[in-house]
């Protein structure tokens, strides 16, 4: 099936969604997605950040679809033409969605563990506006410990339903879901229940914001001061392919490996995530690939040193005195 997104044509198999087709073309046309997760079934459609405009429904039906559609849940039709970043209407609508997602978000990034790898930060930066027009009190909840390793901070939640679907699909015992409705809706466990299974830690990885955080890593370090490396161990429960976040020789955190769309490659078990916190537990495979626009990439100390030396050389050549050497 042929589909054209922002003027770029691609041939995709039947059943592909617009978002998947756009990701096949590449980052320049792929819409952002906060709730869709390709590794989990029936996710998507909730956050509305991936909305696009279909200017031609199919080869048989050349009419446009009047309303913007959620690209993550709309399958392509042969001859479909889609506008994403080329449509001002889509850009405006997305800006509106980002604003809605942020009006009740506490914006406590300076004290949030997710800062630096938060999808909502990226989204706000890339597609939102610099100011808020919301002047009322923001929604507030108490923090909850769901299990001894996971913290739920509902204030930051954007209700993407990823964690609910993950627990539903990865394990056979679902103990959490959404209670209440409208803007009072919240993620919660059944009364006095905790999420307790071998794969529960994955909810931390699928959470796009800082609503579900790793209690063993809480407030230990800003992510951009840690160094990600890919590592492996033989695990009988999961693939054992993980990402270690190092500070010197110390393993501060273990997460799953993320692909370029911020989705995990393999879900990992809790033993790998929470219990193997020594470097000797792991075989290091090499440094992780991190998007060069990410704040985490700023942590290339070797590279930084090179830059410093280069700058000093340039300064010397130009006759500048370094700041710390000045009288």
């Amino acid at each position: 099936m042929k589909v054209t997104i922002d003027g770029i044509e691609i041939d995709v198999p039947k059943g592909t969604t617009i978002l998947q087709a756009a990701r096949m073309i590449g980052k320049k046309v792929a819409p952002p997605a906060m709730c869709y997760y390709s590794k989990l079934k029936t996710t998507g459609g909730y956050c509305r950040t991936c909305i696009v405009k279909v200017t031609k429904a199919s080869a048989q039906n050349p009419n446009p679809i009047p309303k913007p559609v959620a690209s993550c849940r709309t399958e392509v039709a042969d001859g479909m033409e889609v506008q994403n970043f080329t449509s001002q209407e889509v850009i405006e609508a997305r800006k509106g969605v980002v604003e809605f997602l942020l009006i009740n978000h506490p914006l406590d990034c300076p004290i949030c563990d997710q800062a630096g790898e938060c999808k909502l930060q990226d989204l706000g930066y890339e597609h939102g506006s610099a100011k808020t027009r919301y002047e009322f009190k923001r929604r507030e909840y108490e923090m909850i410990d769901i299990g001894d390793k996971i913290k739920l901070h509902m204030n930051r939640c954007i209700l993407c339903y990823r964690c609910v679907k993950l627990c539903d699909q990865l394990t056979d015992k679902r103990v959490h879901g959404v209670i209440h409705r409208g803007d009072a809706a919240e993620i919660s466990t059944y009364i006095k229940n905790v999420i307790d299974n071998d794969f529960s830690g994955n909810v931390i990885d699928v959470c796009p914001v800082g609503a579900l955080t790793d209690r063993t890593f809480r407030f230990k370090q800003r992510v951009w001061f840690t160094k990600p490396v890919d590592a492996k161990r033989n695990c009988d429960k999961c693939s054992g392919k993980v990402r270690l976040w190092l500070k010197g020789e110390e393993v501060l955190r273990v997460t799953a490996r993320m692909d370029e769309w911020g989705e995990v490659e393999d879900f990992i078990c809790n033993a790998c995530r929470f219990e193997k916190k020594r470097k000797s537990d792991w075989t290091i495979e090499g440094p992780s690939k991190i998007d060069r626009h990410s704040v985490i990439s700023q942590n290339h100390y070797e590279h930084l040193n090179e830059l410093k030396v280069k700058a000093m050389k340039q300064q010397k050549a130009l006759g500048f005195m370094p700041f710390d050497k000045r009288p």
């Binding site: 909730y46 509106g96 803007d183 809706a185």
Partner: protein, 446 residues
């Protein structure tokens, strides 16, 4: 004019009982359909009748039925949507309460047409006592052999169940209704797939409004072509209108589509004019979610033609100068009404009823309510009007289900037609009706 098909016997004592209903020609359509018609013929008659969905969208019922997928070995379901929760609409309650057998009769014929052997009536939680009336009527129908195995000695069997909801407006949206019927949280599903392909328990399902299903019985009795003669153009048949507000005679009226709006408001047969001799200010013609229209635009279109009670005439002028027939919740407001306060009340409702699934509706409805609340407090600025306009435009059309649109349209139309009122409050920093407001509750969720 003035023919009654659904409410013809509304005042007959004991019409809620099967024997009285039968004596007044009840269940004739079941006899006719099951004994002398094939299911396809029934669908064909409904198509010919031009009957349109009475729940609000006005989609042609015959067409909707013909979309129903019919895979081999998979059951099909008919679900009656009795989750009537739109503010201003109470016609289904009246019909079910007064003449419950008319719905059951319609259900049998419609189920036969669609090939459904198990059908459901999903009724809102607040109508608990109505569900008792229906249960009793269904029991009577089972005992008389109108329901159950081999109805009237034919091969056709039907089981009919009443399911009471927990009281959520969103469960009137057909996919949310199906979720709720399955015992889940009433969140609308993402379409496609449409219920006609994968609905209840993943099987092909048709969801129809109470009035639509009840109207099938007279259509079969009189024939589709005869039914199509009532009304004007594509708005055929009769429609129940729930009239409320500042009128002399509020209530449920059955009208022939095509009745002039002016006649409906002022004639003694219907609303009987505005209460206390006041002047008409505005009308919400089809339940709280349709655009509000000022007096001059509801009586006459922008082109100066008299407006009629039809799907087309009310929509004349689009959303710029028109509105919709919707579910027929006709709310009349006199000159003393504050449009701003009324709008706040509507918005408060949508805020409270949003399911919270998709972001624009979850966050936007609450935001709009808070801004409108500022107007009532007299703390709003002129820029808040623009902000409201911007928020509603960013909700409309961006959500999973039409609740987002339903929340956005009243705001858009109130600002479009009554901007002056908003400006007056924003400039004077004073809401006229403060004392009245203080007696009202606080916002739904502060």
């Amino acid at each position: 004019m003035g023919r009654k098909l659904l409410l013809a016997h509304e005042n007959v004592p004991g019409i809620d009982r099967l024997d009285v209903y039968r004596a007044h020609g009840g269940y004739a359509s079941v006899e006719k359909a099951l004994k002398s018609m094939k299911p396809e013929d029934v669908v064909e008659e409904v198509k010919k009748s031009g009957l349109r969905g009475r729940g609000g969208a006005g989609f042609p019922t015959g067409l909707k039925w013909s979309f129903l997928a019919k895979p081999e070995g998979v059951p099909r379901y008919l679900v009656c949507n009795a989750d009537e929760s739109e503010p201003g609409t109470f016609k289904d309650r009246y019909l079910m309460e007064k003449i419950p057998h008319s719905l059951i009769e319609g259900m049998i014929v419609s189920s036969y047409a669609l090939g459904s052997n198990t059908s459901y009536i999903y009724i809102r939680g607040e109508y608990f006592y109505v569900s008792r009336i229906l249960e009793k009527a269904i029991q009577e129908a089972y005992e008389a052999g109108w329901l159950g195995k081999n109805i009237l000695g034919t091969d056709y069997s039907l089981d009919l169940y009443v399911q009471v909801g927990a009281g959520a407006y969103i469960c009137g949206e057909e996919t949310a209704l199906i979720e709720s019927l399955e015992g889940k949280r009433g969140n609308p599903r993402i379409k496609p797939p449409f219920p006609a392909v994968a609905g209840l328990w993943g099987c092909p399902t048709v969801v129809n409004n109470v009035e639509t299903i009840a109207a099938v019985a007279p259509i079969i009795n009189m024939g589709g072509e005869e039914y199509a003669k009532i009304g004007i153009g594509k708005s055929t048949g009769t429609k129940l209108i729930s009239a409320s507000g500042h009128i002399n005679k509020p209530g449920v009226y059955e009208i022939e589509l095509g009745l002039p709006v002016e006649e409906f408001i002022y004639s003694d047969q219907y609303c009987g004019g505005i209460r206390n001799g006041k002047k008409l200010k505005a009308v919400v013609a089809g339940g709280s979610s349709v655009p509000i229209l000022p007096a001059d635009l509801i009586l006459k279109t922008a082109k100066g033609e008299p407006r009629l009670m039809t799907y087309e005439s009310l929509f004349d002028g689009g959303f710029q100068s028109g509105t919709m027939l919707g579910s027929g919740g006709f709310i009349v407001m006199d000159e003393d009404t504050s449009i701003v306060k009324n709008l706040w009340n509507f918005t408060r409702f949508y805020h409270h009823e949003s399911c919270g699934q998709c972001s624009p509706c979850r966050e936007g409805t609450g935001w709009m309510e808070k801004i409108l609340h500022k107007f009532l407090e007299g703390t709003a600025n002129l820029s808040d009007i623009d902000l409201l306009w911007d928020i509603q435009s960013k909700i409309e059309g961006k959500t999973i289900c039409p609740l987002g649109d339903a929340a956005a349209w009243p705001v858009a139309s109130a600002i479009r037609h009554f901007k002056q009122e908003f400006e007056e409050i924003a400039k004077s920093k004073k809401f006229k009706d403060v004392s009245h407001y203080e007696r009202l509750h606080k916002p739904a969720m502060a």
